[in-house]
Subunit: 240 residues, 2 copies
């Protein structure tokens, strides 16, 4: 029965699924690295920064650390990433690091994202269910033209995906049943967690999220409810 | 200095300031009352329902009751309002009351609200800072065309205005200083609470929120930072 329940809301993973974080971080880091660390490649630096993402959230997910928003984790991770790249941060003004930290608020959408979301918004509630904090998501949306109905996700429920309560509490906030909500992501593990909470699932392939040599999330690892080519195709499939 | 700090975000009281709750509730209650209580005037019923609003939230503000979202309070208050109007609720199907409870999700904007918000959105982050819960605000916005950047307010911070932490935590979520945020409301007490937390303030006169015989909030009771005629005028004033 669940599969025939009409969908009322779509929740979107954002980093990698809706926006291209790696190119955006590399672009904004480039002038910074030219000033302070000319030996560091901007994409390698973006990867180093992102490498700290999962372990930092795991501290919160495990309960070892109270919830703090992603801007705070990103700022701590920036310090670690620079150290990993052998950059001496002692001589860099903290305000310059604070400013670089905001590059996550300025990521560009994939080419299909804005049109896809605009179409989907005609028919469904659309919101990010991202680990990004609210102001990050608002700044990103205003700059990129992402037409969210509201921002949901980590900061609203004070937890990080893929913890089950992030999905279940978000569905409850929407006043819906899990089967009325579809999680949209480029990451199989995000969809697996959503499915185990009873949500519908849509896998969008983003084969260059991690660059041309990407080895993960290159195909649907389960029979997800929808496997659209991109968000415009998802809108087409859901309008039928 | 605070007064010269540029505004970056506008937060809006919603019931009464952006939408006309009294006409909307009366409109949706009318057919219900015709079925179950032909002696009850729909506007008197709307007033009776609203009369339970402040006392119900005060239970949460005082700490006597854990936070519950406004949909829950509205549903309890509906029962009380019907009893106050001498309606026997025992014979009414609970699902019919659940459906009537959703009339708060279907309120119409004042004539200037949509255009005013559209203009303000070009220059500022705009969000409701309402006691309404997230799904109520999302449903209302999609139906009425309110172009919020995100939904903030009671459910995000798990508290009810005019508790100070509702304003201060919302400013912190936005990553802004209080003086960079302006509270917009038709209610002097809301603005007084916001001002005491360091926010800027804008008073919008809504002289028929409570009907033609309204006696409260008919003028600015303090020298608020802005006293626009309506939200379009606020956009004009802030674009200068």
């Amino acid at each position: 029965m669940a599969n025939t329940t009409p969908i009322k809301a779509l929740l979107f993973d954002t980093f990698g699924t809706v926006v291209d974080w790696r190119s955006g971080v590399a672009r904004d880091a480039q002038p910074f690295l030219e000033r302070h660390a000319r030996h560091v490649d901007a994409f390698a630096f973006a990867d180093a920064w992102r490498r700290e993402y999962m372990p930092a959230m795991e501290e919160v997910r495990s309960g070892r650390r109270p919830f703090v928003r992603l801007d705070v984790l990103h700022r701590e991770n920036l310090q670690k990433a620079l150290q990993a790249c052998k950059v001496d941060t002692a001589s860099i003004d903290a305000r310059e690091l604070d400013e670089l930290n905001l590059c996550w608020h300025r990521l560009d959408p994939w080419p299909d994202s804005v049109e896809g979301l605009q179409r989907l918004k005609q028919q469904f509630i659309i919101a990010p269910l991202s680990n990004g904090n609210i102001s990050l998501m608002v700044d990103m949306a205003k700059r990129a033209g992402l037409p969210w109905d509201t921002i949901l996700g980590a900061e609203v429920v004070r937890g990080y995906k893929p913890s089950p309560q992030v999905y279940t509490q978000t569905v409850e906030i929407l006043g819906l049943q899990p089967a009325e909500v579809c999680m949209v992501a480029a990451h199989n593990n995000d969809l697996a967690a959503a499915r185990s909470c009873g949500l519908k699932t849509a896998f969008v392939l983003r084969p260059t999220e991690h660059g041309a040599a990407q080895t993960t999330d290159l195909h649907a690892e389960q029979a997800w409810d929808f496997v659209p080519r991109d968000l415009i195709d998802l809108a087409e499939q859901l309008s039928q």
